[in-house]
Structures are given as structure tokens and as C-alpha cells.
């Protein structure tokens, strides 16, 4: 089961976990990652822009690679777009598997790949001063671990 959604609104983690587990008697483990807007350096909000259609395709490719590597029973990626205030959730990755090792590894893999492949861009707003977030070399390095 694959779920990919790009949306402005918040997501419901309980509902996404329930969707991953309800039809599969062999799901023993669900790992989720939620990314949140950090406000610790004076940031007031983020605006997220994306490349429609390519985003969904690229996320589907990332899930496809994860499915090749681990025995997954389901994967969900929901990414928000538009203006997000500090503290708000940005992204949800949820992975279901029979055993926890696969679920943990695949969720971390998906985040590392999404960070370097999915066409989203963040513009930060600190009290009216706007700045595009720079790509972090550490994210590229983390994605390379999986090659």
C-alpha cells in the first residue's frame, strides 16, 4: 500500500497508522517520522514551494527503492506546502513492516532520499526578512550512505 499526498493542511498520524495496519494481519511494526518547523533561531514561518507532478513521481521512486531494499507492507508520505508557522508539522513518513528493523531502516532511508530528491523549496521568514533555505551538505552525505 502506497500513499503519497501533497497538501496544505495538517495530517492525522493516527489515521495514517490505522490505514497502514487495518487490512494487513502481518503488520507488526509502524515507524513514523514527522518533521516540524523549528523556531529556535527567530524563525516565524516557512513557505514551501514544490514542482507539481514531479514531486509525486519522485516520492514514488523513493518508495520504490525502499521496497526493493526492505520487505515493506506499506509506505505513506505526506508533505505539506504553503505557509507553515513555527512548530507546525511539515512532513510525515510512515512505514509498515512485519518486523521493526525494516520499518526503522526504510523510514530513515525515505527521509534521506526525500531531502535530496523531492522537488520542494523552503523560504524562511524571520519577522519579514525572507531567505531561501540553502541545501545542506550533511543531507547529501546522509543520502550517499545508502548507495
Amino acid at each position: 500500500m502506497r500513499t503519497i499526498r501533497i497538501q496544505a493542511g495538517v495530517f492525522d498520524v493516527n489515521a495514517e497508522i490505522a490505514a497502514l495496519t487495518k487490512d494487513a494481519a502481518n503488520v507488526g511494526a509502524v515507524v513514523t517520522f514527522t518533521g516540524h518547523v523549528r523556531g529556535d533561531d527567530g524563525l516565524s514561518s516557512l513557505t514551501l514551494e514544490h514542482y507539481p507532478h514531479m514531486t509525486e513521481r519522485e516520492i514514488a521512486r523513493c518508495i520504490g527503492e525502499a521496497e526493493q531494499r526492505w520487505p515493506l507492507l506499506g509506505a505513506t508520505v505526506i508533505h505539506r506546502i504553503g505557509k507553515l508557522m513555527r512548530g507546525e508539522p511539515i512532513v510525515l513518513v510512515a512505514v509498515a513492516a512485519t518486523h521493526r528493523q525494516a520499518a526503522f531502516a526504510a523510514a530513515e532511508f525515505l527521509m534521506d532520499y526525500l531531502k535530496t530528491r523531492a522537488p520542494f523549496w523552503k523560504e524562511e521568514d524571520r519577522g519579514g526578512a525572507k531567505r531561501w533555505v540553502e541545501h545542506r551538505e550533511s543531507d547529501a552525505q546522509r543520502a550517499k550512505r545508502w548507495e
Partner: protein
């Protein structure tokens, strides 16, 4: 061809999308970027340092030596920062 611009590339150029006939002598993404850089101040600024840019052709990430043809959708953008 359809050209798409995102994030600060879009802002510098002042538009998010345009259509274009494949310019004479342009066969790769890099040649297209070099051609666009000569179209005016906004373009020159956006394409000043190609190392800061990434590209996609028909919604696949590509390098600047990838080929482009008349009916392609070509996008230019900074390295992605989602997640």
C-alpha cells in the same frame, strides 16, 4: 518546449513558466542555461553560477550535459530543501 522555474530562480527571472522554440545550436541543458543567461538582467542573475542550479527534463532529475529537444519540459531550480 516548456520552461519552468522554481524558488529563487523563479523570483530572479520574474516568472514561473514560459514556452519557447528550441533555440538554434542548443542541444543540452547546459547550452539552454547559457542561452537563457543572455536574455536579460533577471535571467543573467538567475543563471550567473550554473553550479548553484539543478535541472529536470520531463520531470526527471538530470545533469547539465543531458540532451534537450523541442517538446521537452525543462525545469531549473536550486538544490531541493524539502522534508
Amino acid at each position: 518546449m516548456t520552461l519552468l522555474y522554481f524558488a529563487w530562480v523563479r523570483q530572479k527571472i520574474g516568472r514561473s513558466e514560459e514556452t519557447l522554440a528550441l533555440p538554434e545550436g542548443v542541444a543540452t541543458v547546459g547550452e539552454l542555461a547559457a542561452w537563457l543567461a543572455k536574455r536579460g538582467a533577471g535571467y543573467a542573475d538567475a543563471f550567473a553560477d550554473p553550479k548553484r542550479l539543478r535541472a529536470a527534463v520531463n520531470q526527471d532529475h538530470v545533469s547539465f550535459d543531458a540532451p534537450v529537444s523541442a517538446n521537452d519540459e525543462v525545469a531549473f531550480f536550486p538544490p531541493v530543501t524539502g522534508g
